[in-house]
């Protein structure tokens, strides 16, 4: 199981240059919209052609500009799931699944039936796509893709057109089916929770290039770059400056910290590094709450530190918030920092 891509494609005002090698079976590609993550899938599946480069999947050469190899999309055996499902509107669900098979062949029909059965779509097989809900459509699209027994399954933001309610249900179902799938899964999303749930490795794409790449635990707990940190959902990212006395100053928040092995340009202040402290304790700074945003299960506090330029967002559980017993929103707090939990990144 391996994919290898080193390809460039010029779009005039946008330049894609993707280099990626992985032997993981579950790869998540995350990035902002327009970063080139979907185009990476299109290049791999043969729906778009790179200007130059090499693409190999499981040691089969899909594309090599030097050797003039360009395997057409129809021969690459890649199952592709689109955001808007892309089911054939003129065919029933069963006909969609049979599209890549031989309708008259009983063993093919049996195969289609077993796929529909596995995905719980058997009773809907005579429905047209317009009669299905979004979640059913995406499951139908998965069934159709599985019919070609794909070596790679490419999911291009498959849940982003679903509303929250359907999304959770559909994601749960997909989770079950994909567990049994033995090929490679490439999952494009801008939602880090989806990526974490379905993938082992995470690739961060930015401006048409691979920004960082690694095991998901590493990428989320210890993001190597600012982009990776932002996409992982970290909120408090500040440039770091070295002070004359050799301390590290978090420019956005106005406080200085001891220590430093190597000075890195950015620091992330995760919520777990903050706790309520007492005046004159070490690493404790005074702040006032400028804004409180309440949700059913959590509360976000905006903490304004002395000399800070930007408030720190502190997401805490509702129960923790109630323990604080803060009556006046503008009250001054003493916030203790755990310097070991601050992340320094490039």
């Amino acid at each position: 199981m391996s994919i290898y891509i080193d390809a460039t494609k010029n779009f005039g005002d946008f330049d894609l240059n993707i280099k990626l090698q992985s032997s993981s079976r579950r790869i998540g590609i995350i990035g902002a919209s327009g970063s080139g993550k979907s185009m990476t899938l299109r290049l791999l599946s043969g729906l778009s052609t790179p200007d130059e480069g090499v693409i190999k999947v499981n040691d089969v050469c899909f594309f090599d500009s030097d050797k003039s190899v360009d395997l057409p999309a129809r021969k690459r055996k890649t199952g592709f799931l689109f955001q808007n499902y892309a089911l054939f509107p003129n065919m029933t669900l069963e006909e969609n699944v049979l599209f890549s098979l031989d309708k008259k062949n009983p063993s093919h029909k049996a195969k289609a039936a077993s796929i529909l059965d596995m995905l719980g779509l058997q009773r809907l097989k005579r429905h047209k796509p317009s009669q299905l809900s979004g979640g059913q459509k995406q499951r139908a699209a998965l069934a159709r893709a599985l019919a070609i027994e794909p070596d790679i399954l490419m999911l291009d933001e498959p849940f982003s057109a679903l509303d929250n309610h359907l999304k959770k249900h559909t994601m749960d179902k997909f989770s079950d089916y994909l567990k049994n799938y033995l090929g490679i899964i490439l999952f494009v999303t801008h939602n880090m929770e989806e990526a974490y749930r379905y993938c082992d490795e995470i690739v961060v794409v930015k401006n048409g290039r691979v920004d960082s790449h690694g095991k998901k635990e590493h990428m989320f707990l210890n993001p190597p770059t600012k982009t990776a940190a932002k996409l992982s959902g970290y909120r408090n990212i500040s440039p770091v400056a070295k002070t004359q006395s050799g301390r590290a100053r978090l420019v956005n928040y106005g406080f200085e910290l001891d220590f430093m092995d190597v000075l890195k340009p950015y620091a992330i202040l995760p919520g777990r590094a903050l706790s309520l402290g007492k005046k004159s304790e070490p690493s404790t700074f005074s702040a006032f709450i400028s804004e409180i945003i309440e949700s059913p299960f959590s509360v976000v506090l905006y903490l304004e530190f002395e000399n800070g330029l930007v408030p720190v967002e502190w997401n805490i559980k509702r129960s923790t918030w109630e323990e604080f017993k803060i009556k006046n929103p503008m009250e001054t707090l003493y916030v203790k920092l755990d310097p070991d939990k601050i992340l320094f990144i490039d």
């Binding site: 043969g46 021969k75 592709f80 599209f99 059913q136 070609i148």
Partner: protein, 233 residues
């Protein structure tokens, strides 16, 4: 009154519609896939009969199928000639109707979701399978509208038809030509009757096209509402 011109007109328009349907659909399929440097030039050539004066088309056709053309010389060997025959009539009607078919079916193809075609490619389908199994069925309403419009246009063709078909009674005398001669000779009763017939047929055609298009947009709207309302999994 002799209704032969009406029969000739309808037969000619039907044959021309069949011709332009085949050529128009393939031409628009080709143009959807072709991205070379002559794209805009070829597109203009395909659309040209729509704005050229019919007499210019008639003249060009006379040269193309006349006795001195390659085709004319070839047919002459078998003692055949196209000029002033029913096939020439069909040819002239086809040329003027072609742009309508081409433009309408191309627009219908271009409105298809490109992801659907890409999905078919990843499922192992070749381009012809995509064309016949996906593009044509899903662009069908547009193709039908194009064919109906082509039929109406072919039915009303006058100038080019007159030049290459002549106006031989019972052979190449169509309704529009009959109107012209009737009105020229002061037979206003006959002219008026033909005008009324053509008027009714054209109105019927436009009604069919409109109601067909209305149905399509209504259908897609219902589809969207279903999607929004349905919270079944």
């Amino acid at each position: 009154m002799d209704y032969t011109p009406l029969i000739i007109s309808i037969k000619t328009a039907a044959a021309a519609t069949a011709m332009v349907s085949v050529f128009g659909i393939f031409a628009s399929w080709f143009m959807c896939r072709y991205n070379g440097k002559f794209k805009s030039l070829i597109d203009s050539v395909f659309l040209l009969p729509m704005i050229l004066p019919p007499t210019v088309i008639g003249y060009i056709l006379l040269i193309a199928i006349g006795k001195n053309s390659l085709l004319g010389k070839f047919l002459y060997r078998f003692d055949l000639s196209l000029i002033f025959t029913w096939p020439a009539l069909v040819l002239a009607a086809s040329v003027v109707a072609f742009p309508l078919m081409y433009k309408t079916s191309k627009a219908a193809f271009e409105q298809l979701d490109p992801d659907i075609l890409d999905a078919a490619r990843t499922l192992g389908a070749g381009e012809f399978k995509i064309f016949s199994k996906i593009m044509i069925p899903n662009a069908w309403p547009g193709i039908v509208a194009g064919a109906v419009l082509s039929f109406a246009r072919a039915l009303g063709e006058f100038g080019a038809t007159l030049m290459v078909g002549g106006s031989i009674p019972d052979k190449t005398l169509t309704v529009p030509i009959a109107i012209f001669f009737a009105s020229e000779s002061g037979n206003s009763k006959e002219a008026g009757l033909w005008v009324a017939i053509i008027f009714m047929i054209s109105l019927l055609v436009m009604t069919i096209v409109n109601s067909y298009e209305g149905k399509i947009s209504k259908k897609s709207r219902i589809g969207k509402e279903l999607e929004a309302d349905e919270h079944l999994y």
